[in-house]
C-alpha cells in the first residue's frame, strides 16, 4: 500500500525533521502514529498524502514510486487517500453538504449521484438535519464529523487522520476511533496520528512511534495504560451507520 525507504526530510536549510524513516503499510492494516508534539508526525503524514516531497529516500504509494510520477498523475493518486486534518479545514462558505461533496466533484461524479451519496452519508453521521448548515454554525464535534464524512465519501483506499481526537472529549474520541476501526474492517488502510495515549491504549493496533525524527515500531497489543472503555465498541454486523455513527452522536 505504502512504503517508505530511507526517507529524510528537512525544510529548506534547516535541521533534518525526519531521518532514515523505513516502514511499510500493508493493505487493510491499522496503525497509530505516536510521538511527542513536534516529533514530526504531521510531516510524516504530509509525506504520505503527497503534500511534501522528501529530501531523500523513496516513497512508494499504491505500487508507484512517487518521484517517478508526472505531476499530472498526482491528483488521481491523492484522491485515493482520505485525510482528516487536525483543524478539520472545512470551507466555511460552503454548507456541510457541499463540503462533503468536494471529493466527488473533483472526481467528476454526476450531481445526482453526488447528492444521493452525500445526503446518505451525512444522515449516517447524524447530520441529516444539518445539510445546509455552514461549518461556523456547527459545534466542534459536528465539524469533525463533516470532516470525516468528507474524507471517506469517495471510499479512499488509505485514510490518514492527524490528531482527530485532539479537539474533542474522550467520549467522542472513542466514537471516532470505533468509526476508523469500522472503516478499516471494510478494507481501508488506516493510520491515525495522535499523542492521546489514554485512548489508543484501548485498541490493539501496532504503533509507529516517532522520536526526534526516527521511527520505531511497537507491535500490536493492548498497551499498559489501557483503561476500561466507557462504551462498548459496535458489533461488526451492525455496520457503520448503525454501530458507530448513528443517533448516538450529539453536539
Amino acid at each position: 500500500m505504502i512504503r517508505f525507504e530511507d526517507i529524510g526530510l528537512r525544510y529548506g536549510s534547516g535541521p533534518e525533521v525526519l531521518s532514515r524513516i523505513n516502514f511499510t503499510l500493508k493493505p487493510g492494516s491499522f496503525h497509530f502514529l505516536t510521538g511527542a508534539s513536534g516529533a514530526g508526525k504531521s510531516s510524516l503524514l504530509r509525506l504520505m498524502y503527497l503534500g511534501l516531497r522528501p529530501t531523500s529516500g523513496t516513497i512508494t504509494v499504491f505500487g508507484r514510486d512517487v518521484a517517478s510520477l508526472k505531476r499530472a498523475e498526482l491528483p488521481a493518486l491523492r484522491r485515493r487517500i482520505g485525510v482528516v486534518f487536525q483543524d478539520f479545514r472545512l470551507l466555511d462558505h460552503l454548507s456541510a453538504l457541499d463540503n462533503v461533496a468536494l471529493p466527488l466533484r473533483m472526481a467528476g461524479a454526476a450531481e445526482a449521484e453526488i447528492r444521493e451519496h452525500v445526503v446518505e452519508l451525512l444522515d449516517w453521521v447524524g447530520l441529516g438535519d444539518h445539510l445546509d448548515a455552514k461549518p461556523p454554525t456547527l459545534s466542534g464535534g459536528q465539524q469533525q464529523r463533516v470532516a470525516i464524512a468528507r474524507s471517506v465519501i469517495s471510499r479512499p483506499r488509505l485514510l490518514l487522520a492527524d490528531e482527530p481526537t485532539g479537539n474533542v472529549d474522550d467520549s467522542i474520541g472513542m466514537r471516532l476511533l470505533y468509526l476508523f476501526e469500522e472503516l478499516n474492517k471494510l478494507g481501508t488502510t488506516v493510520m491515525i496520528a495522535t499523542h492521546n495515549e489514554g485512548l489508543i491504549g484501548r485498541f490493539p493496533h501496532p504503533r509507529l512511534h516517532l522520536d526526534r525524527g526516527t521511527l520505531n515500531l511497537t507491535p500490536a497489543g493492548i498497551g499498559p495504560s489501557v483503561a476500561v472503555a466507557t462504551m462498548a465498541p459496535p458489533t461488526p454486523s451492525a455496520g457503520l451507520a448503525g454501530g458507530v455513527l448513528g443517533a448516538g452522536w450529539s453536539r
Binding site: G51, R79, L97, D98, E111
Partner: protein, 304 residues
C-alpha cells in the same frame, strides 16, 4: 438545498467589484477606439473608391483665349473650345477610358463658389475641365496618355489625384494605427488587471487552494473556478462598457449629423462593424478567461 457553487469563496472578494469597473472602463475605451479605427477605415476606403479610377484633364486658357495675343505668331493655338474637343476625341478613342465628359462652365463656377462667391464675372479665364472615368481592368497607361495629351493639346494637363490621395491615405492610416494602438494598450492593461486580480485571489485563498490541491483537485479544476469567476465579472463589466460606448457613439453620430456633410466625411458604420463593436465585451471576457487560466496554472505549478 443542493447548489453547485464555487469551492473558492471568490464571490466575497473586494477584487470582484474592482474588476467589474476595470472591465467596464476598458471595454468602453476599446469600443470608442475601435469605432474610431473603423470609421477612419471607411473614410479611407470611400476616398480611395471615389478618386481612384477617376482622372481630370485640365486645359489652361492660352493668351489667344484671353485676347492678349498679338495675332502674329506663326504657331498660334486653337481656341479653348476646339482644344477641348480635340482632347475629348483623343480620350474617347483611348482604350481603357470608359467615359470622358466635359465639366460645364456652370459646374466649374459651382466648384469655385465656396472661395470666390456666387457673383463670378463671365470673362473669368477658367480652364476647361474634363472628367475621365477609367474602365475596370482596361489597362490604361496613364503616363502615356498624359504625354499624348500634352503633345496634341497645348495647355492640357492630366491629373490623377495621386499626390492628394496619397496624403489623405497616409493621414487615415496613421490615425487608424493610433486607434489600433489604443485598442492594444487597453487590452494589455485589461489583461494585466486580470493577472493582478487572479494572483490576489490566489494569495487570499491560498489555504483553500492548498486544501483542494491536497484533496486531489487537478490544476485545471482550480483554474476553472477562477475562470468562471473572472468571466462572470468580465461579462458584467463588459455589458456596462458596451452600453456606455453605444450611447457615446450615438451622441457623436448625432453631433456629426449636424455638421455639413461637405466638411466631414460620413461616420456611418456598416452592420458588420456594429457587430464587431458588440463583440468587444465577448472578446474581452474570452481573453480574461484565458489569462486567468494561464495565471492559475503557472502559480499552481509551483505546488508539489
Amino acid at each position: 438545498m443542493f447548489h453547485h457553487r464555487l469551492d473558492l469563496p471568490l464571490v466575497e472578494d473586494a477584487t470582484g467589484r474592482f474588476m467589474v469597473w476595470i472591465m467596464a472602463v476598458m471595454v468602453y475605451l476599446g469600443i470608442i477606439a475601435l469605432a474610431g479605427a473603423l470609421v477612419l477605415s471607411g473614410m479611407a476606403e470611400r476616398w480611395e473608391n471615389g478618386l481612384t479610377g477617376r482622372l481630370t484633364v485640365q486645359i489652361s486658357p492660352q493668351p489667344d483665349d484671353l485676347g492678349t495675343g498679338t495675332g502674329t505668331e506663326v504657331d498660334s493655338v486653337a481656341p479653348l473650345v476646339q482644344r477641348t474637343e480635340v482632347a475629348l476625341a483623343l480620350l474617347r478613342a483611348t482604350p481603357g477610358v470608359a467615359r470622358a465628359e466635359p465639366i460645364t462652365l456652370a459646374a466649374a463656377h459651382k466648384l469655385l463658389e465656396p472661395w470666390l462667391g456666387s457673383a463670378l464675372p463671365d470673362d473669368l479665364p477658367l480652364p476647361a475641365l474634363i472628367d475621365v472615368e477609367v474602365a475596370d481592368g482596361g489597362g490604361l497607361e496613364v503616363p502615356a496618355l498624359a504625354d499624348r495629351l500634352a503633345r496634341s493639346v497645348p495647355g492640357a494637363r492630366l491629373d490623377n489625384h495621386a499626390a492628394w490621395l496619397d496624403d489623405l491615405r497616409r493621414l487615415a492610416r496613421t490615425a487608424q494605427l493610433v486607434a489600433l494602438a489604443v485598442v492594444i494598450l487597453v487590452g494589455a492593461a485589461t489583461l494585466a488587471a486580470v493577472v493582478f486580480a487572479v494572483r490576489t485571489g490566489l494569495a487570499i485563498h491560498s489555504p483553500v487552494v492548498e486544501l483542494l490541491h491536497l484533496m486531489g483537485a487537478s490544476d485545471q479544476y482550480v483554474a476553472r473556478q477562477f475562470q468562471a469567476h473572472i468571466v462572470g465579472l468580465a461579462l458584467r463589466g463588459g455589458a456596462v462598457g458596451l452600453g456606455l460606448g453605444l450611447v457615446t457613439l450615438a451622441v457623436l453620430a448625432h453631433a456629426a449629423g449636424d455638421v455639413s456633410s461637405d466638411m466631414l466625411p460620413s461616420m456611418a458604420l456598416t452592420p458588420r462593424q456594429w457587430l464587431a463593436l458588440g463583440a468587444v465585451p465577448l472578446v474581452a471576457a474570452g481573453l480574461a478567461a484565458i489569462t486567468a487560466r494561464w495565471t492559475v496554472l503557472r502559480v499552481l505549478a509551483a505546488l508539489p
